[in-house]
């Protein structure tokens, strides 16, 4: 659907380097990376706002690398929605229809459908300065969707919204993707929203693609320390192979993996939510240990627990109810473990 081959974009103080990307039809594709990694720049490059220095951009097999912005049949929804302040919702939404040879009748039908689908009935005569963040987002989506673009590009669509509108907006994006069978490319630095919305994605760092593929695979099987850290994987440690188990470097601690790791791999990692609390004397996992609780810190309804065993520190995320029920506190010992499938090497 959208393919980028050997894309480079050089600015005085930043570059996108040798970007290869494949976005399939009906994908909800997430470009994920920390602030300043170049993800928004890449989105603007795909849109044509920042022309690529070299490389090829294909849309449905057609080379659109040198097409002007307005001829690409892509639509971009900005982080702050960029609604035209001098036009009301009605005029904002219909703005692009005059440039796409859409008849008035067709535009009217699409408008009626979108107003109803996105719940804009009560605000069509309002101006942007009288809209809430969630309403602005819906108008910006309607303004793009009315043009029936081949691909919808979203630049951090949830980051400008109050937490109150977050859930509503996420569901709306999911609905748009599902019902209109849109191909969407979204930029985000928030892995929670990416996991909820996207099916495929790419991690970008310093203007380079680090990893791309299925979102769950990026989340559960990162291929580098950077990606592992970025997607919230913890307990990242260097190891060496000791028969069929992994021995953590510098200690005697051995961990049994699900399958023999790639000989080129050097690190292992375990997601903190995969480290389970065991009732003493009743281990349920192949890898089970008893350790000393070094710290307990709140992270919402869960608690982040630091456990030390045989000189190795593990980080687990446990429900507050467990901590209360088993009277766990700093300095006490606790039994814990993790299934072999939770051990990931890279």
């Amino acid at each position: 659907m959208i393919s980028l081959h050997h894309i480079n974009l050089h600015l005085p103080d930043f570059s996108l380097t040798d970007i290869h990307l494949q976005v399939h039809r009906h994908d909800f594709f997430a470009l994920i990376g920390p602030t300043g990694s170049g993800k928004s720049l890449l989105l603007e490059g795909i849109m044509g706002i920042m022309p690529f220095t070299s490389g090829i951009l294909l849309s449905d097999g057609r080379d659109i690398t040198r097409f002007p912005v307005e001829k690409r049949n892509l639509a971009l929804v900005y982080q702050d929605f960029a609604l035209f302040p001098h036009l009301n919702v009605f005029k904002n939404t219909l703005y692009g229809t005059t440039f796409h040879n859409i008849s008035k009748k067709e535009a009217g039908q699409r408008f009626t459908y979108l107003v109803s689908a996105l719940g804009l009935e009560k605000i069509v005569h309002r101006y942007p300065h009288n809209l809430s963040g969630g309403e602005k987002q819906r108008v910006a989506l309607a303004r793009s969707l009315i043009l029936n673009p081949q691909v919808l590009l979203l630049d951090e669509p949830l980051s400008a919204l109050d937490p109150v509108f977050h859930d509503e907006a996420r569901q709306l994006l999911k609905k748009v993707h599902k019902e209109l069978r849109m191909t969407i490319i979204m930029v985000s630095h928030n892995f929670d929203e990416v996991l909820y919305l996207a099916n495929r994605g790419a991690i970008i760092k310093g203007g380079r693609i680090m990893h791309q593929g299925d979102i769950l695979s990026i989340f559960e099987k990162p291929d580098s320390r950077f990606t592992a850290n970025f997607v919230g994987m913890k307990n990242i440690m260097p190891y060496h192979l000791n028969g069929s188990s992994l021995q953590i470097t510098g200690t005697r601690l051995e961990i049994i993996p699900h399958c023999p790791p790639d000989p080129a791999h050097q690190y292992m990692g375990i997601r903190p939510e995969n480290i389970l609390f065991h009732i003493p004397g009743n281990p349920v996992c192949k890898n089970h240990f008893t350790g000393k609780i070094k710290d307990i810190a709140s992270c919402g309804v869960f608690l982040r627990v630091q456990l030390e065993t045989q000189g190795v520190m593990f980080e687990a995320v446990w429900p507050a109810a467990h901590i209360k029920q088993f009277r766990l506190e700093t300095g006490k010992t606790a039994a814990f473990g993790f299934p072999s499938v939770a051990v990931h090497t890279f």
């Binding site: 307005e70 892509l74 035209f84 001098h86 942007p128």
Partner: protein, 262 residues
Amino acid sequence: MKQMDLMGWLFLFLGLPLILLLTLPLISMTTEPSAAMLKETIADKDVVAAIARSISLSLCAAGLAFIMGTPLAYLLARKELPGKRLLEGIIDLPIMIPHPVVGIAILSLAGRNHPIGHFLSDVGIQIMGTKTGIICVLLFVGLPFYINTVKSGFDSVPVRLENASRTLGAGALTTFIRITFPLTWRHMILGIIMCTARAISEFGAVVIVAYHPMTAPVMIYERFTAFGLKYSQPIAVWLIFISFVLFVMLRMLSKSIHPYNR
């Protein structure tokens, strides 16, 4: 609005001489002429013609600034041109140089000895002693005020809005007409007001390029040197009054258009 505190009163006390410096001469000048004298002055056809000429030629200069200065202001606000800082400096130059120098510079360019002056003469354009010459001078002195005001207007429109318009299928020129222009035309009105105001008050350059046909400031100067203060004041009062009404109307027009700015 914050209540005045001790510091506020101190600052007001320090600024008071300036307020008095600005207002007292104007109050004195506008209240001194009697009603009969003002009536007699406005009945004088030469006075009416001079004031009308000052205002109309100033508006002409502002109109030219609008037509040619708007694209230039847009370029300066949006594009990275080679020598952009130099160009900005050149545009600001008329604010700094003495106004008779402006008149002399324009005359030297428009003289028969200069190729441009020769060319203008050949195509029938006279600068010396004509309305064209006056407009030329007024445009020269008013242009920085127009360009700088409109440029700050363009600066205040996020580039993202223009990009958003492009992503929705509008070309660059259509985007300018449908997005950028409606969002900046209050600045353009303000620029026209600034440019016109500067042009109406211009004396030093005009008097060199065209003593006749006479503009209001030249007439005020002539009446002052020929007949004294008493005969020049009423013209000045009428000029100030008419200009004031004109500017208030323009400001009201610019305020009334945009519902999103209420």
